[in-house]
Structure formats: structure tokens, C-alpha cells
């Protein structure tokens, strides 16, 4: 159907290669986030899909139509792809109403279409304003309504929330998400914010050095990242030395069930990843219960970073030869002061990292 497919896309500028064979599949009606550090080519990818730039090689199809391949190229106005940039790019000489109606035929502009769109994004009272009289969040809503006005087959969002301040960002993000769900628009969202990508998207594609290194659901990516670099990009990690035994990794924190395939080279030893929230931390008294199990490590809290909803503890094991330090995410109320003696255990799965 109207799924968006990008295959083997290459693009460079003046000697630097930006996109090097990007493959991306965006299912109909889904929201796919393209996640990457700044300068990785995210924006270029969107601009090529929108038709603002021409690819050097590769093909883009949308719902069975070829937007671009080695032979043909459809100009932006014929693609029916909506585009919302970082700053909204509202036409400064046109009112909110005129901005939203820009892509509509004259007849449609006179009808109720524009006011419906205004209501849809919740800015009905701002119809007559000029862009410079709007706040950042309002500008983004206008930009979104303008892009949706023509009922595009696909919508491209280029870091649309990054210019908003933190509190506003969360709110606008939520509203936009709900709206896109209701409309069922096939959407590509480009962002460098892993939290945004994980929380909003149905699938996340990670762009690095001009190629998509992994695409999957947020959970797949978080739990089974393709490599250590990606693992760290998506959140804090503990890397543990492990002995593999069938589907189990034997670690300093005890045996943990392996998630996913064992590394192919199949050695008996390797490294596994355990996320900080998989560790559980208990305060040790002076009593004898300390030594009760072999699956726990004794240590001291070296540092505590408090976030309110939770806290991240850095724990230095007392025994040498284990990991240099472990990171554990605990409830905010369990934020232990540095120096506290604790024991650490783990639960859940361990992910082998090549």
C-alpha cells in the first residue's frame, strides 16, 4: 500500500559521502524514527525523500509509486509528501490561515478545510496571526497543519521538537503523536534524541556513517542493540565477562539467560550486556546474611546521581577481579549515599555483544 521504501540510497556533497546505501522500510500508517547523532545524514535523508535534493543512486517508492530511481525523478510538488522542518519554516508574509491553506486549491481554501485543520491542531483562535506573533510550539502546530492539509501519503518530520524548551517539548510531542495516530499518516521522524525515538516510534532505524545499522521496535533496539556503541547510545550499560553454557551466560552476578543468538564465533567466553535497571541493590547490614548466596556481589556505593523518578548508583565491587564498577538504576527513594555497603544481584536476560 502506501508504505514508504528507500533502497540503496547514495548521496554526497563536494567530496564527502553522506548517505552510503541507506535502506529503510516504513510500513503504512506507522511512525518510524530515524535516530542518529548530528551530522550522520538524517536531514539529508529526509531532504532526498522530500525531493529537495537528488540522490546519486538508489530508489524511493511510496505506495507503489516510484518517487525516484536511477532513471526518473519526481519533483517535490508531485510527490505528495509533507515536510515539517526544525523551525517550522512558516511563510513570514502570510497569516496562519494563509500558511495552512497554501497547498490547497483556491476553492478548498475558501471552504471549511482550513478552519478544521486549525481546530485539529488546537489553534483555532490564532487564524489571523502572523508567524512572528506565535510561540515556538504554536509555530510547529501551524507547520504540521500546513503539511497535513493536502493529506500527504507520507509525512516527514525533521527534528520538529528540538527548538522547543523541555516542558513544551514533552507536551507538543504528545499532542503530535496522538494526532498522527488519529490521522494514520505514514510518518518518518528524524531525531538525535533517543528518548524521543524510543517513546514515540513504532519502529526505530539507527543511522550511522551513512547507513542504517539497525531497524526494529524500540524494545528490540534497547534490549538487543547491534553493537556496544549503539547500546551505550540508547542508555547506560553494564558489560560483564561471561562464560557461555547453552542458553545461559555465567557472570559474576550469577547465571543469566541469554537473549537472542549466541555470538557465532561461538567461543566459550564473551561479553554480555545488562542494563542498569536489571540490577537489584540491597543494603548490607553487619549481619551474616551477607554471604548467603554466591550470586550476589558485595560492594560500596561510590556515587549516586539522583533524577527524582529514579537514581543511578555507581557501585564499586569489594572483590577484585570483577567488573571495575557497576551501574544500577533504583527507585528515587532508594538513592543511597556514597559509601553505603550494598550487595548487587541481577535478573532478566543478558544480551551477548559481538
Amino acid at each position: 500500500m502506501s508504505s514508504l521504501a528507500v533502497s540503496e540510497l547514495w548521496k554526497g556533497y563536494a567530496g564527502t559521502r553522506v548517505l552510503q546505501g541507506v535502506n529503510l522500510e516504513v510500513p503504512t500508517g506507522s511512525l518510524t524514527a530515524v535516530l542518529g547523532l548530528s551530522g550522520c545524514g538524517k536531514t539529508t535523508l529526509l531532504r532526498v525523500i522530500a525531493g529537495f535534493e537528488r540522490a546519486e543512486r538508489g530508489a524511493i517508492t511510496l505506495g507503489g509509486r516510484t518517487l525516484e530511481d536511477g532513471h526518473s525523478y519526481l519533483p517535490p510538488e508531485k510527490r505528495n509528501v509533507g515536510y515539517v522542518s526544525q523551525d517550522g519554516a512558516l511563510f513570514p508574509h502570510l497569516s496562519v490561515e494563509q500558511n495552512i491553506g497554501f497547498g490547497l486549491a483556491r476553492r478548498e481554501r475558501r471552504g471549511t478545510a482550513v478552519s478544521e485543520l486549525l481546530e485539529m491542531v488546537g489553534i483555532g483562535h490564532l487564524a489571523e496571526r502572523l508567524p512572528h506573533e506565535l510561540s515556538g510550539g504554536e509555530q510547529q502546530r501551524v507547520a504540521l497543519a500546513r503539511a497535513l492539509a493536502r493529506r500527504p501519503q507520507a509525512l516527514l518530520l525533521d527534528e520538529p521538537f528540538s527548538s522547543l524548551d523541555a516542558t513544551l517539548r514533552a507536551r507538543v510531542r504528545e499532542e503530535v503523536h496522538t494526532l498522527l495516530r488519529e490521522q494514520g499518516v505514514t510518518t518518518v521522524l528524524v531525531t538525535h534524541d533517543q528518548e524521543e525515538a524510543l517513546s514515540l516510534a513504532d519502529t526505530v532505524a539507527v543511522l550511522r556513517d551513512g547507513t542504517i545499522i539497525q531497524q526494529g521496535t524500540p524494545a528490540e533496539l534497547y534490549e538487543q542493540p547491534a553493537d556496544e556503541r549503539l547500546a551505550r547510545f540508547l542508555g547506560a550499560v553494564n558489560l560483564l565477562d561471561a562464560q557461555f553454557e547453552r542458553d545461559t551466560a555465567l557472570t559474576a552476578l550469577g547465571p543469566l539467560e541469554l537473549r537472542g543468538a549466541r555470538p557465532e564465533h561461538g567461543g566459550a567466553a564473551g561479553v554480555v550486556m545488562v542494563r542498569p535497571e536489571q540490577l537489584d541493590v540491597r543494603v548490607r547490614g553487619d549481619g551474616a546474611e551477607d554471604a548467603e548466596t554466591g550470586a550476589r556481589i558485595a560492594g560500596r556505593v561510590e556515587h549516586c546521581r539522583y533524577y527524582g523518578h529514579d537514581a543511578l548508583l555507581r557501585i564499586r565491587p569489594e572483590q577484585t577481579g570483577v567488573e571495575p564498577a557497576l551501574l544500577a538504576r533504583v527507585h528515587g527513594e532508594q538513592a543511597l549515599p556514597a559509601g553505603t555497603r550494598v550487595s548487587v544481584g541481577a535478573h532478566g536476560h543478558a544480551t551477548p555483544l559481538g
Binding site: G15, F52, R54, N80, R146
Partner: protein, 530 residues
């Protein structure tokens, strides 16, 4: 196609610039090329003309004793005037922008207004009331009084935007106020001073009318006489090329001097307005000095005009011929303004949107007329039309084209800044909303750059309406403009009859001079209370 753009041979770069993936809009390329060709045309035909006369002839013409005299006349006048303008301009700007001078806003306007009086009208003003004025000193005085605003304006702008932090740092490092001014402030405004001096020099090299009135022979005057009286196209062409060489030398000097003094620019936001120096007991002498300057630069020419208007009105004025002159002036100037603005659009569009070596070269070429005196452009067009298109010779079209070439840099200034603000992102969004490129241009780009186009039109219109030298050479026979009619009466010493024409030209060009000074004023106000 290969993605390995960097492996392409270096020689392919130029062609790729034109045929690259981001295709250049054909309309813009054609428009900009026409503009560049037009700009080059006069100079090219002067060179052709000079070449055809043979090198021995050129040598004979250049080695005449009179050429050495002309060169000396031109150079000593240029040096003296430029230096005087620099001193007056900087001093006046400092007083207005950095001291507690009373009635500063009034002075900011009064000091710029002489820009609105054409130089030949200033000359007329002085000589008509004191016919004894002539020669070197008269020329220096009149030109200094007309041209110092060209230094004042940029310097006042630079001083208003100056970062006070640097001066304060200098003071805290033990410098006296005077030392701080000399070593820090002057250093910062140096690009503005040099830029102003360049404009003064170029104006001096191009000036004809004022020098003719005070009977001081510079290159431009000599070329004009050579051509108009002797109808010696060859001699005029050869001498013109010397004039162009002088202008280019001035440009080069400014460039190298500015390049050496690194431009210190404060980062945005970090800037604070400087504290003003309290004049105290010095207020009176400073006020007297500024009053004298304005009086001489503005009061005398205007007063003289008024005097002759009043005197002249006793004799009946041929109102019909004034109206006809106004009509022709407006017609030619408007046509030139449209043409120049139309040429500026593709040039700046390419230079901003599709920046590469070819388009940057095109843009630089378009600025070339800044160094071309009106006389040179006019002579080049004459050289061309006399030989290859006689029908064009002394036609209205030729005069309009001359204006358009001459004032293309002014149009570029207006269009370029507007074009720079019209983000290509907006055009892209327009495309993605289903509009074709031409429709996007009309619905997005044009409304955004309209103010710039208006400014460009106004600047070119006003400059054309008050242009004298090229107009005298190129105006269609029997058709008079304000400038030619003024000149005809002035050379007959019919000052009363000439005055209304001069007054009309002053009225036309006073508007932008006033607006310029007002803009400076708002700038100063915005900076003030912080």
C-alpha cells in the same frame, strides 16, 4: 552516476558548477549572464577602441605633457579631499555617536543631508555667489563638503554598534581615554573609515560637473572635453582607461588595507552600548564646529539655490520646459531602475542560492561599475554604438542602459540583503506543498524580496535622476532632462534659470539621504538605553 564526486578530475569542477545535480535555474543564468555582459561591454569597447588606434598612438597620447599635469591634478586633489573627508567624517561621527552633544538626532540628520545635494549643485551654489572661486583649493573645499557624509555614515554606524567592552578593557589595562580611542576604537572602526574613503576616492575620480564649474582640470574633465569638443573618441578612450586604472588602484588599496587590520566584531548578544563622553565646557566649540560644517556643506548651496529661485522668479519661468524635463527624467530613471533591479535579481539569486566559483565571479563582475565613472560607461557605450549599432547612438535606450549599468551595484545592495533573508527552505516547503517552481517564486519569493526590490528601484531611480556626466554625453538630441537643462543654463551663467532644475534634483535625492540618516537615528536609539 558515480557517487564518488571527489574522484572527478579537478578540471571538471567548472563544468559541474553549471551542470551539477542541483540544476541552476535557466532564467537566472541567462539574466545574470546578460547583466555581466552589459557591465563588461563599455570597458571592452574602450579597450578595443584603444587597441585599434595602435600602440604608438596610445604612447603619444599618454606621454603628452598634459597627461602628467592631469595625473598630478587628479592625485593631489584625491589625496587632500579623501584625507579631509576622513578627518571630518570620523570627528563628526564621534561627536554625534559618542558624546553628550545636545540635539544629537538633529545633527545625525543634518550631517548626512549634504549627500542629497548633487556635487555639481554644491559647486553651482558656491560659484554662483562668488564667481572668484576656482582652482585647486575651491575644488578641494567643495568636494570635501559634498563627500564627507560618505565617511560619516559608515563610521557613525560602526560607532553605534561598537562593543563598549573592548574600550573598557583597554581602560582597565591602563590606557588613557585618548589612547584607548587611538589604539582600540579607531582600530575597530577602521574598515568603516577605509570603506568610506574608498567611496570618496571613487566619487572624486568620477566627478565632472563640480570641477568644470570651478575650472579645475582632472582626468574626467579632460576626457569629457576631449570627446565633447574635439570629438576625439580615441584620445578619450585611452585616457578613460587610465581613469579606470586609477579606480582599480583605489579599490586594491582599500582591499589590502582592510585585509591587514583584522576586523574585530563583537559576538551577538555580548554587546553593550558604550558610555558617552561628557562634553561639558567643550559643548559650545563642538556645536560651533558642527554648525559651521553643516552651514558650509548644506546652508550655502541651499541658500544660494533659494536666492536664485527668488531672483529668477522675477523673470518668467518657462514652466512647460521644466515639466518636460521632469517627464523625461522620470521616464529614463524609472526605466533604468526597472532594468537594473531586474538584472540584480538573477545575479544575487545565483550568488546566494547556488554559490560556486562561476556565480561568485558573476556577482563580482556586477559590482564592477562601482569603479567605473559614469563618463567611462558612457564613452564605452558611445564607442560601441558608433561602430556597431549607430541606431543606438544617443537613443533613449542607450542612456537607460548606461544608467542601469552604472547603478547596478546600488540595485544589488538592495536586492541582495532581501534575497539573503528569503530562506530557500521556505521555497522548498512551498514545493512540497504542491506548487511548481514558478508558482513558488510568485507566491513565496517575490513577496519576501519585494521590500528589497523597492529599495533597489528607489536607489537607482534617484541616482539616475541626478546623474550629470553620462547624461550629457548620451541624452537624445533635443531631449532635455533636469540635469542637462540645469547644465545648459549654468554654462550660460543663467543661474536664475538653472536654480529650479537644481532644486528639483535636490528634492528628489534629499528623500533617500533623509531616510538614511533616519535609519542611523533609529539604530542609535535602539542602542542607546541598554
Amino acid at each position: 552516476m558515480s557517487s564518488l564526486a571527489d574522484t572527478a578530475p579537478a578540471s571538471g569542477r567548472w563544468t559541474r558548477a553549471w551542470s551539477g545535480r542541483r540544476r541552476l535555474p535557466l532564467v537566472s543564468v541567462v539574466g545574470a549572464t546578460i547583466a555581466a555582459a552589459l557591465v563588461l561591454l563599455p570597458l571592452a569597447f574602450l579597450i578595443v577602441q584603444a587597441q585599434q588606434s595602435g600602440s604608438s598612438e596610445v604612447q603619444r597620447l599618454l606621454l603628452r605633457h598634459s597627461v602628467a599635469v592631469l595625473l598630478w591634478n587628479t592625485v593631489r586633489l584625491t589625496l587632500a579631499c579623501t584625507a579631509l573627508c576622513a578627518v571630518l567624517g570620523v570627528a563628526a561621527a564621534w561627536c554625534v555617536e559618542r558624546t553628550t552633544l545636545p540635539a544629537r538626532r538633529l545633527w545625525a540628520v543634518a550631517l548626512v543631508l549634504p549627500l542629497g545635494v548633487p556635487d555639481f549643485v554644491v559647486g553651482f551654489g558656491w560659484v554662483s555667489i562668488d564667481p572668484a572661486l576656482h582652482g585647486y583649493l575651491a575644488a578641494v573645499m567643495i568636494m570635501t563638503l559634498s563627500l564627507y557624509p560618505l565617511v560619516y555614515l559608515p563610521v557613525a554606524g560602526a560607532l553605534a554598534n561598537l562593543d563598549a567592552g573592548l574600550e573598557e578593557a583597554a581602560r582597565s589595562l591602563g590606557l588613557s581615554p585618548w589612547q584607548a580611542f587611538w589604539r582600540v576604537t579607531l582600530r575597530q572602526i577602521r574598515p568603516a573609515v577605509l570603506g568610506g574613503c574608498l567611496l570618496v576616492t571613487l566619487a572624486l575620480l568620477a566627478e565632472f560637473g563640480a570641477f568644470e564649474i570651478v575650472q579645475y582640470r582632472t582626468f574626467t574633465v579632460a576626457i569629457f572635453t576631449e570627446f565633447k569638443l574635439g570629438f576625439d573618441v580615441v584620445a578619450a578612450s585611452v585616457l578613460s582607461l587610465v581613469l579606470v586604472a586609477l579606480s582599480v588602484a583605489a579599490l586594491g588599496a582599500e582591499l589590502s588595507l582592510t585585509g591587514r587590520g583584522s576586523v574585530l566584531r563583537a559576538g551577538p548578544g555580548a554587546r553593550r552600548g558604550a558610555r558617552r563622553v561628557v562634553l561639558g565646557r567643550l559643548s559650545a566649540p563642538v556645536l560651533a564646529g558642527l554648525a559651521a560644517l553643516s552651514g558650509l556643506a548644506l546652508g550655502v548651496p541651499i541658500g544660494s539655490l533659494v536666492y536664485w529661485m527668488v531672483r529668477g522668479s522675477s523673470t518668467t519661468l518657462p514652466a512647460a520646459s521644466i515639466l518636460a524635463a521632469v517627464g523625461h527624467t522620470a521616464e529614463y530613471s524609472a526605466a533604468a531602475a526597472v532594468l537594473a533591479t531586474a538584472m540584480a535579481v538573477p545575479v544575487s539569486s545565483l550568488a546566494i542560492r547556488h554559490r560556486n566559483r562561476a556565480t561568485v565571479l558573476l556577482e563580482r563582475l556586477a559590482y564592477l561599475p562601482m569603479a567605473l565613472p559614469g563618463l567611462v560607461v558612457a564613452l564605452g557605450l558611445v564607442a560601441f554604438s558608433v561602430r556597431y549599432a549607430f541606431a543606438l547612438y544617443q537613443s533613449a535606450l542607450e542612456l537607460i542602459v548606461a544608467y542601469a549599468i552604472l547603478f547596478l551595484p546600488l540595485a544589488l545592495v538592495g536586492v541582495r540583503s532581501a534575497m539573503g533573508q528569503a530562506s530557500p527552505r521556505l521555497e522548498e516547503v512551498g514545493r512540497s506543498l504542491g506548487s511548481r517552481p514558478a508558482a513558488v517564486w510568485l507566491r513565496v519569493t517575490l513577496p519576501l524580496i519585494a521590500p528589497g526590490l523597492g529599495a533597489a528601484f528607489a536607489l537607482v531611480f534617484i541616482s539616475s535622476a541626478t546623474e550629470l556626466t553620462a547624461t550629457l554625453l548620451l541624452h537624445p538630441t533635443g531631449v532635455n532632462t533636469l540635469a542637462t537643462q540645469f547644465w545648459a543654463y549654468t554654462t550660460e551663467l543663467s543661474y536664475g534659470a538653472a536654480a529650479p532644475y537644481a532644486a528639483l534634483m535636490v528634492a528628489i535625492s534629499a528623500v533617500p539621504a533623509y531616510l538614511l540618516s533616519r535609519r542611523m537615528g533609529t539604530l542609535a536609539r535602539a542602542e542607546g538605553p541598554r
